[in-house]
């Protein structure tokens, strides 16, 4: 009888592996699933309501999470201080990793009360709404405003704000606190230097670019790494040329929406800039900061951008730059909408999770933020307008923001609101952005770019896993 007194290494490994296999099913019960949990919150109890306290906020703690990006978080702290004067304490967190910090908490059913869902790692709001994770803010909109009890919050807001909170229904799920004006940004100094007026038709645009070229300045530069910046001027131009319904069809992912003549005309107009060499060399590979630097150094006249650019490029903007923004240049006088047609809309979206333990406090906090005091404080701190009408009227603004405000006021009712950017961000940023990037780099012709956009839109339309929203 030969029995081995000692286990050797191999049999040991083999046996422990076998033991492991046997134990796995047993452990299945032990280990918690990644998706486990679920709502464990009782429906919140509200206190008594009054004129000053329309939501019946109690003293329970309020938890606010702020995206720590270009706007910082001081504005929120100031608003929280106002909240704390009347109600309970506020637990304030700032982060750049909104998704990774908050997603697990939403899954568990114990989210914070107010979330500033912004930045590159923002959570997909359409999915959250579909999963019934978002509180309807209609109550807030119909409450009396902080400054004037006779005016509803709804009536103090800038246009497009309520619409932007809607996702295919009447419910308003998010509140975009900042207000952005998109357009063709330029330096008045540079425009004067080449002796030109701001172009209103595309022929004028080409003439201005030609004049700039003679002065050794490129007509346009852009952030090639984020080619969807072009959409800031191309979408409103599409609406101006063909009417807002063309954009609505694009948002609704309708078949052949991209093959509309207006889209074709706009793509061809922009391609003309590339074909005639009016684009600053190197733009296709630039980051937004690179392109803004070049623009600040008078190497290019126009840049498609939003009103955050003044604050973002502050450090490199020369004293005599006199930054300004113009409404997107149209094609000619036969356009469907007048010159001045503009894309202006909210940004920095706030929402209250459906499972928030202190939703009333969250509503009250947003009501405070929408008061004139907090709103003008935000503009002072961040050089950005807010969604509160007239909150920046008494403030001294920088040249860029002043110009943005004027352009916005001049637009009157001719505002357009493309939704594809927030409804289908991947489609907008990657597929359409990628097609436009290739076209503006001169790699493909407008027809092919349009085909790519249409194909990408069709793919999304047929993809059941992507949640669809339509204009109401």
């Amino acid at each position: 009888m030969t029995s081995r007194p000692y286990l050797n290494r191999r049999t040991l490994l083999r046996r422990s592996a076998a033991a492991g296999l046997v134990t796995v099913p047993a452990l299945g019960a032990l280990s918690a699933c990644a998706s486990g949990g679920g709502s464990d919150n009782e429906p919140e109890e509200r206190g008594e309501t009054s004129a000053d306290n329309p939501f019946g906020v109690t003293d329970s703690e309020l938890e606010v999470v702020i995206f720590d990006g270009g706007f910082g978080d001081q504005y929120a702290k100031d608003a929280e201080a106002i909240y704390e004067q009347s109600y309970g304490s506020v637990d304030h967190t700032k982060t750049q990793e909104i998704s990774s910090q908050l997603q697990p908490r939403l899954v568990q059913g114990s989210p914070p009360d107010v979330i500033d869902n912004d930045g590159a790692h923002a959570m997909e709001i359409a999915a959250l709404i579909h999963d019934e994770q978002v509180y309807d803010l209609t109550e807030l909109l119909d409450a009396p405003s902080l400054d004037d009890p006779n005016t509803k919050v709804r009536d103090t807001l800038m246009p497009t704000i309520v619409e932007m909170g809607q996702y295919g229904g009447q419910e308003v799920y998010q509140l975009n606190y900042a207000f952005t004006i998109y357009g063709q940004w330029y330096s008045r100094t540079a425009l004067e230097r080449i002796g030109a007026e701001y172009p209103q038709t595309w022929d004028e645009m080409l003439a201005v670019c030609e004049a700039a070229k003679r002065e050794g300045m490129a007509g346009w530069t852009y952030a090639g790494q984020y080619p969807y910046y072009f959409n800031f001027t191309m979408y409103p131009m599409i609406a101006k040329v063909g009417g807002p319904e063309v954009l609505a069809a694009i948002d609704n992912l309708e078949p052949n929406a991209w093959r509309h003549d207006a889209v074709k005309a706009v793509f061809e107009a922009y391609y003309e800039l590339t074909a005639r060499g009016y684009i600053l060399e190197g733009s296709p590979g630039m980051s937004h900061e690179d392109s803004q630097d070049e623009w600040n150094q008078y190497h290019a006249l126009f840049i498609p951008n939003g009103s955050w650019v003044e604050n973002e490029s502050k450090a490199n903007t020369p004293e005599d730059f006199r930054m300004a923004v113009g409404a997107p240049t149209g094609l000619d006088s036969s356009d469907a909408m007048p010159f001045g047609t503009l894309w202006a809309s909210g940004s920095a979206p706030f929402f209250i999770p459906a499972d928030a333990s202190n939703a009333a406090g969250g509503l009250e906090f947003l009501r405070i933020m929408l008061g004139k005091e907090s709103a003008s404080n935000f503009t002072k701190l961040t050089s950005s307008l807010t969604c509160v009408r007239g909150a920046a009227d008494d403030l001294e603004l920088g040249p860029g923001l002043t110009s943005a405000k004027e352009t916005f006021e001049a637009a009157g009712d001719n505002l357009v609101l493309p939704r594809i950017q927030d409804w289908y961000s991947t489609l907008n940023n990657e597929d359409i952005g990628g097609a436009i990037a290739d076209m503006m780099a001169g790699n493909i012709e407008p027809d092919e770019a349009i085909t790519r956009c249409q194909n990408a839109a069709d793919t999304v339309a047929q993809d059941d896993s992507i949640l669809k929203t339509r204009h109401v």
């Binding site: 040991l12 299945g28 280990s31 998704s99 790692h121 999915a127 999963d131 296709p284």
Partner: protein
């Protein structure tokens, strides 16, 4: 003679049926089992003085020490793996604890997903070419550093002059975090004063300049170059160490036989460092399959994807955790195939020194 016969008889009897005293009664069995789970101090005397106790003690010792790591491994490695297979068959959004089982829908979708196949193509390119280029360069440099110099009288082989300085310089990129490398190379490729374009311009190759290195079709080659650059140094050091472990007598003998440098490399150095090369190959393959940080930081959103970056987009930007998990399972299978191929290719007789 007589004694041997009895011995043989007793052995025959023993093999036929286990003697009664070797069989455990159920009572003893229970006692032994209890002793196995109790601390050694509490072992009953009856068991302790049994002749089988030594074996029990040995097994108990090993099993007790193995239990904590195996448990941790099961909970944190194996169970997530198994869960991943399950989640890959659901439509889980990642935001909610509710989802439904969808069978192989995600896999079917993946099969028709062009973007996924693009990303897979890029990953496979990095997986194949990354190790090939990096290891070849690493081997070449290491050989030069250990045996590439002029022959000196006292030594059969010597490295080129300043070999130690080179070793340190080659190792520099390894010290940098991959995020730093990605940001740095993003600037190098930038058309806004980046070194690549400036250098091409300075040497008169203006037509080679690119307006956009990282946004278009060239991106995968740019990423490959950075991947190789960042890891070559590590392999130079690794292979140098392996090569300096080769006894110099072998080189001496080969020199006497009239071997040239190439023969020395292909007949001696390469086979004798094969084990290290194989390990390096697997490690580098993993780096190539990953590539997440480089792509995520360097390449613009509309540019190329590799499988991990595509997975990340689906899971954390588009709220399709279920589909992302299916992509993860696909990545797992590719890794498995890679490991199997490496094991099969790597089978080679070990050379003892």
């Amino acid at each position: 003679m007589a004694t041997t016969t009895t011995e043989r008889e007793s052995t025959a009897a023993g093999s036929g049926a286990v003697p009664a005293r070797d069989r455990l009664t159920w009572r003893e069995r229970a006692l032994f089992t209890a002793a196995f789970f109790l601390p050694p101090r509490l072992t009953p005397d009856r068991v302790r003085y049994d002749r089988r106790y030594r074996k029990l003690d040995q097994h108990r010792f090993i099993v007790w020490f193995l239990v904590p790591p195996v448990l941790i491994y099961l909970v944190f490695v194996i169970s997530p793996f198994l869960q991943a297979f399950y989640y890959s068959m659901t439509d889980w959004s990642g935001f909610d604890s509710e989802f439904s089982f969808t069978g192989f829908d995600n896999y079917e979708r993946m099969w028709h997903d062009e973007k996924f196949w693009d990303a897979m193509g890029n990953s496979v390119l990095l997986l194949v070419l990354g190790p090939l280029i990096t290891l070849a360069l690493g081997l070449f440099f290491a050989f030069m550093l250990t045996a590439g110099g002029r022959h000196r009288r006292s030594e059969p082989v010597s490295g080129i002059r300043g070999a130690n300085v080179y070793k340190i310089v080659y190792f520099f990129p390894q010290v940098l975090s991959i995020a730093v490398i990605a940001v740095m190379w993003g600037r190098i490729y930038s058309p806004h004063g980046g070194i690549v374009n400036e250098t091409l311009g300075a040497v008169g190759l203006d037509s080679w300049k690119q307006e956009d290195w990282l946004g278009g079709d060239l991106a995968r080659w740019c990423v490959l170059a950075v991947l190789c650059w960042s890891f070559v140094g590590f392999y130079v050091v690794l292979f140098s160490a392996a090569m300096s472990a080769i006894p110099t007598q072998i080189y001496e003998a080969s020199l006497l036989d009239g071997a040239g440098r190439w023969q020395m490399f292909s007949r001696l150095t390469f086979p004798l460092t094969w084990d290290t090369i194989r390990t390096g190959w697997i490690y580098m393959g993993i780096q190539g399959l990953d590539g997440f940080a480089l792509v995520n930081i360097m390449v613009p959103e509309h540019g190329m994807d590799v499988v991990p970056s595509y997975l990340y987009k689906k899971a954390f930007q588009e709220a399709q955790a279920g589909y992302a998990t299916a992509i993860g399972v696909a990545l797992f299978l590719v890794t498995l195939v890679f490991a199997l191929i490496m094991l099969l290719l790597g089978r080679r007789d070990r050379i003892e020194m």
